[in-house]
């Protein structure tokens, strides 16, 4: 951006809150998605909803793209400024504004770090369950815009289940308030839900009110190892069929176990083909009963070992191990391409098997971990972006994984979002009618297409594979 063009923006936020040096623009040219990078023209750190509204009005006038960015941990290239423009940061908007213990809500600015919020409300005996693996650094604003999931999603749901109200700056610069601290509200279309998970394509969220629940009395963690992926997957289905809804039912395959153990050295057995991490919370009696039942089920399904974590410390280590799985896997090969295919949980065993077969068919290295309990798997392709031939095989394999997930009644992304990376596949899931409706909505809300352009909507839908698997 020419210096002259940046001046009006500078007068809104001030020089100290403006970044435009070469190094700064490069530092905001990526997120956690492999193979996507593009420099913005300007990076701004506004301090208020009003400043954001002024920035948006300026952008609207000159049709400049606006990309909201939290901590840049997105896994679908949702925060990469692929068409340039202005990146909006929330590092000056990271206050916890209000804890309302009568209505059980907390109101925050978008820049609050997820883990900081969790720890803050837990100090008051309250609980904010959504816990994406990146919670140590991810922001609430990013979580809401992506409708992030996490390890506790099975029992407690995902971010959208906790958003009660928000302030949004619309693409024309108007400030809109949605929702409230209400248990019930059916006034009009559910616009609040529309904004959650919109990935910054409909407006900029500048304040969020979240629902809290009482902090469960205790939690306990069980761990089971298996000789085969199928046994682990069957255990998951059997637990759910047994009418137990654990907080966490996480899965890691052998390659993932190795990568995590390489990083953490917490004594994970390297000969296990798969492991399940099972956590339950609630009252002491119920937790003890559920964990024992789950351990029993794992043994029936052929677990080589199924035990209770010996201490809170060990339980935390195991969960941290699961949270770092993706990054730990990346130590194996130069490029890590992560998928987020999700199936109904009854299909988890079928999906796990299909992923193995697809990896073999295309001769690519795929390690799988994920939220087995809610059918949300993270098959992760370990490859090297510099090897064109291998990348082609990777692409075919990923196409087939998406295809299989949809065939099984699933989706292309359970919690990471569409971004730019998965936009060519969106129509596979939504069909032409679904995509058309989304386009109409986008056109009505953001006619100039300045809000995170190039994301969610693809220039061209990828040709659907014709696959006869099996």
């Amino acid at each position: 951006m020419e210096l002259e063009a940046t001046k009006p923006f500078l007068s809104i936020v001030g020089e100290a809150n403006t970044k435009h040096s070469q190094a700064q623009l490069l530092a905001y040219s990526y997120d956690a998605t492999a193979n996507f990078q593009a420099k913005p023209d300007l990076v701004l750190s506004p301090s208020s909803t009003e400043e954001i509204a002024d920035i948006v009005k300026l952008c609207e006038k000159s049709q400049i793209p606006i990309i909201s960015r939290g901590s840049g941990t997105n896994l679908a290239a949702g925060t990469v400024p692929t068409q340039g423009g202005v990146v909006i940061l929330f590092n000056n908007m990271k206050k916890i504004l209000e804890l309302d213990e009568e209505n059980l809500t907390v109101t925050v600015q978008p820049g609050v770090i997820t883990q900081d919020l969790c720890l803050f409300v837990e100090k008051h005996g309250l609980f904010y369950p959504p816990d994406p693996s990146s919670m140590k650094i991810s922001t609430i604003g990013g979580n809401v815009s992506e409708n992030s999931g996490g390890l506790r999603g099975l029992k407690y749901g995902v971010t959208k289940d906790y958003v009660k109200a928000m302030t949004v700056v619309m693409p024309n610069g108007e400030i809109m308030k949605l929702g409230g601290k209400l248990a019930k509200d059916v006034a009009g279309y559910d616009l609040l839900s529309l904004m959650v998970g919109a990935e910054g394509t409909l407006g900029i969220i500048t304040e969020i009110t979240l629902k809290l629940i009482p902090l469960p009395a205790i939690k306990k963690t069980g761990i089971a190892y298996f000789n085969s992926l199928e046994d682990a997957a069957k255990t998951v289905s059997a637990i759910i069929a047994n009418k137990i809804i654990p907080v966490t039912l996480e899965f890691m395959d052998k390659g993932t176990i190795h990568a995590v153990e390489d990083f953490m050295s917490i004594g994970l057995p390297r000969d296990a083909e798969a492991m399940l991490l099972m956590e339950q919370d609630g009252t002491e009696e119920q937790v003890a009963r559920d964990i024992q039942t789950m351990i029993g089920i794992a043994e029936q399904q052929g677990a080589t070992s199924a035990i209770l974590a010996t201490s809170e410390k060990q339980a935390e280590e195991l969960k941290t191990g699961r949270r770092v799985a993706l990054s730990a896997l990346s130590r194996k090969r130069p490029t890590t391409i992560l998928e987020d295919a999700t199936v109904p949980r009854s299909q988890i065993a079928t999906m796990v098997k299909a992923i193995q077969e697809i990896a073999a068919k295309y001769n690519v290295q795929i390690n799988t971990f994920g939220h087995a309990g809610d059918g949300n798997l993270h098959p992760t392709c370990l490859t090297d972006a510099r090897d064109k031939e291998e990348m082609e095989r990777v692409e075919h394999a990923l196409d087939e994984i998406f295809h299989t997930a949809i065939e099984l009644g699933g989706t292309i992304t359970g919690e990471h979002g569409v971004g730019e990376m998965k936009s060519p596949y969106l129509e596979w899931k939504l069909g032409t009618a679904g995509i058309d409706l989304m386009k109409h909505i986008k056109q009505a809300v953001d006619p100039l297409n300045i809000m995170n352009p190039g994301k969610v909507f693809a220039k061209e839908t990828k040709k659907r594979l014709v696959v006869h698997s099996g």
Partner: protein, 445 residues
């Protein structure tokens, strides 16, 4: 328009910065919350490990050209390596920033003042123990002659950056030479553990008293202590400043000086030196003559706290009783923690020290801003980081802030003075702290 120097810089990055190490980073961002400069800049990605790695790669790939903003990002890195234990992908950030500094150093002529300072420091003082000793004589003269008081009064040091002035204020009183050398290596007849002591150039001169106490403590614990004569500065400061070749030169001299089967351990009492010493193996792995010797050297290397624990100091401390003396806390030496993974041992010793109540300092694992000579080169950022560190110290109100490295020690003392707290608390080296704990008791008993 790419200038000649920009092209040269790109080539230098291609030549010096390892592409494979760069591609290890998958940009997950898990390092961000561990990085002191990211936090001190209100989350500026430019001053984060992920941002710097992206910049290194962009320099190689030609996505950015060398300019002040790029240089600033690299210069601002403390080199504390807190990002390494935070990185699930195992990115070797320490190696990458070292390589980056080599790449820059080879192309960019440093400014005159800095060049002179570097030349004096790296080629002169830190390379040669005798010169270092000479420098200390000057400091000693300066302190004893009253000149220190005089220069403080007339503001001679106002000519230097304010931080340097503050550092001058916390220089330890140097012991007289005779006293310094008296206690050297009294072989114990019953010793079962044989220890070679890496004295460290700063520790052996400015902090001579600490070294004397280190030897006394080791002997008290039944070890036989030898001080190999030909030892040199460890080379860490060279390595961290883009002059790795000079660091490796010192490494070889030290490996030769300590190459004996007589020692069970080689011990150091400075976290910054210790990390570099333990990495001799890595730096010399391709050297046919030195690879094996370096590996042996690095394997024997241990820090003083770990050795104290091995020699049973905890039990000895527990036997002692003492009056209540307040709170003691610990500021990690970054390299001792992040490179050598030693953080439990010093804490366990402090927990067992008689009279004191050990309390953990908030963000003890985060750099204090000293970082070698960083606080001299980047005084503003160092000050910001120290200020945030001192917030935690003020909250805790300890009587002693214990450290494991001379740089950290002086930095924490500067922090204490700046807050006007020198009457209430003191920064001390862990050896001095433990020596006093034992000595006090022996006096009473």
């Amino acid at each position: 328009m790419v200038s000649a120097i920009q092209q040269k810089m790109k080539d230098s990055f291609v030549e010096n910065v390892n592409e494979e190490y760069l591609t290890d980073c998958m940009r997950c961002g898990f390092c961000l919350s561990a990085c002191p400069t990211y936090l001190a800049t209100n989350n500026d990605e430019t001053h984060s490990p992920r941002g710097r790695i992206a910049l290194m790669k962009a320099m190689r790939d030609g996505d950015v050209v060398w300019d002040g903003s790029v240089e600033d990002s690299f210069d601002m890195c403390l080199g504390c390596r807190a990002c390494e234990p935070a990185c699930p992908a195992g990115v070797q950030y320490g190696a990458l920033i070292e390589e980056t500094r080599i790449a820059i150093q080879q192309v960019k002529p440093k400014k005159f003042v800095e060049k002179t300072a570097r030349k004096a420091a790296f080629d002169g003082i830190f390379a040669d123990q005798k010169k270092m000793a000479g420098t200390v004589k000057l400091i000693q003269f300066y302190q004893k002659s009253g000149l220190q008081k005089a220069t403080r009064k007339i503001g001679f040091l106002d000519l230097f950056p304010p931080f340097m002035k503050e550092m001058e204020g916390v220089l330890p009183a140097v012991e007289k030479k005779k006293k310094r050398e008296k206690k050297r290596g009294n072989p114990s007849k019953t010793a079962t553990t044989k220890v070679a002591f890496f004295t460290g150039c700063l520790m052996d001169t400015l902090f001579q008293e600490t070294n004397r106490k280190t030897i006394e403590m080791l002997e008290w614990l039944g070890a036989e202590v030898t001080i190999p004569k030909e030892q040199q500065c460890c080379g860490a400061l060279h390595g961290h400043s883009g002059e790795l070749d000079k660091g490796v030169r010192n490494a070889k001299a030290n490996i030769d000086a300590f190459d004996s089967d007589d020692y069970d351990y080689i011990v150091n009492n400075a976290g910054g030196c210790g990390a570099f010493l333990s990495e001799y193996e890595k730096h010399l792995q391709a050297d046919s003559e030195y690879a094996e010797k370096a590996a042996r050297f690095s394997r024997k290397m241990t820090d003083i706290s770990s050795l104290f624990v091995k020699l049973g100091l905890n039990a000895r401390l527990k036997e002692l009783e003492s009056e209540e003396a307040g709170i003691v806390t610990y500021q990690d030496s970054c390299h001792l923690r992040n490179v050598n993974k030693v953080f439990l041992e010093p804490r366990s010793l402090l927990e067992d020290a008689p009279g004191f109540e050990y309390k953990e300092l908030i963000d003890a694992e985060s750099c204090c801003g000293s970082a070698g000579i960083y606080n001299l080169l980047q005084p503003e950022m160092a000050r910001r980081i120290l200020d945030s560190k001192m917030k935690g110290v003020k909250e805790l109100q300890p009587a002693k802030v214990v450290t494991s490295n001379p740089g950290c020690l002086m930095q924490m003392q500067v922090g204490i003075q700046r807050e006007g707290l020198e009457k209430e608390m003191q920064a001390v080296h862990i050896v001095d702290f433990l020596h006093e704990a034992i000595h006090k008791k022996q006096k009473q008993g």
